[in-house]
């Protein structure tokens, strides 16, 4: 599916992915996780690649393999800075609220949920490939 770079469209991707995942895996917890990872990926495209400006295109594809779901999120905005590609979740200190981070958890969440995360910048745009190992019940074609 392809959406305009508007945060109001992100839930459409999440709900669609969740529904398809539900048909394939029938594990609600897993579907919630995959939905979250895709929402984070598309949020990043809208917020960072297109800087919250509408009019950009974000395409999301899903490939169903016998033991994997492979998602690709493509945009034509700004790329992800290299120093953000290996995110760590800082251990929050409950006693020190001032130092709590209010953002920057999206890629960390994606990397925690997905089994493989691969990013590259191509002539056709920025491409984030997310792979989740699940038994889909489909046979190779």
């Amino acid at each position: 599916m392809t959406i305009d770079s508007d945060l109001n469209n992100v839930a459409l991707v999440g709900v669609a992915v969740h529904a398809i995942c539900g048909e394939l895996a029938r594990e609600e917890d897993l579907c919630c996780q995959i939905e979250l990872a895709l929402v984070e990926a598309v949020n990043n495209a809208v917020i960072h690649a297109y800087e919250k400006k509408t009019g950009g295109k974000i395409s999301v594809t899903m490939e169903i393999l016998p033991e994997n779901l492979v998602f690709q999120v493509r945009d034509n905005g700004k790329g992800i800075p290299p120093n953000c590609l290996n995110p760590l979740c800082p251990e929050p200190d409950p006693e020190n609220r001032r130092n709590l981070q209010t953002g920057g958890r999206g890629l960390f969440i994606i990397s925690e949920i997905m089994d493989e995360v691969f990013y590259r910048e191509t002539e056709e745009g920025n491409l984030l490939t997310l792979t989740k190992r699940i038994k889909t019940g489909t046979e190779p074609g």
């Binding site: 945060l7 109001n8 992100v10 839930a11 999440g14 917890d29 919630c32 996780q33 939905e35 979250l36 929402v39 984070e40 949020n43 809208v46 917020i47 979740c89 251990e91 929050p92 409950p94 609220r97 001032r98 709590l100 981070q101 209010t102 953002g103 958890r105 999206g106 960390f108 969440i109 925690e112 949920i113």
Partner: protein, 112 residues
């Protein structure tokens, strides 16, 4: 997305109405919550029992609000469902926020 607030003893109960707390609602949600805090309501029980989906941007608003209430106040979460709790745990935010099963126990904690 709708926010409603009512006093309950020393605290104010803020109810978030909506199933998704995500980037699309984040700016409006943050503005309303910060506005409330800046009117000196600094003991907040945030009822998110209707929320079934939260993303990192929604979570970021909660963290911003927690920072805003300062050391003398608190923002606690009430009615956290399973899916939201999993995100809080994934991001270690379950160690930062006080979490109560319902509004009544959250309000009681402020009174005690």
């Amino acid at each position: 997305m709708k926010l409603s607030a009512k006093r309950a003893g020393d605290a104010v109960v803020v109810e978030f109405t909506g199933t998704r707390l995500e980037a699309a609602q984040a700016d409006e949600f943050k503005k309303k919550l910060i506005n409330l805090i800046d009117r000196n309501f600094r003991k907040i029980a945030l009822d998110i029992s209707s929320v079934t989906f939260i993303d990192s941007t929604g979570l970021g608003v909660l963290v911003s609000a927690l920072k805003r209430v300062g050391g003398e106040g608190d923002l606690v979460l009430a009615g956290v469902g399973d899916s939201v709790m999993k995100v809080l745990k994934l991001t270690r935010m379950d160690r930062v926020f006080k979490i109560y099963p319902d509004v009544r126990s959250a309000v009681r904690a402020f009174s005690g």
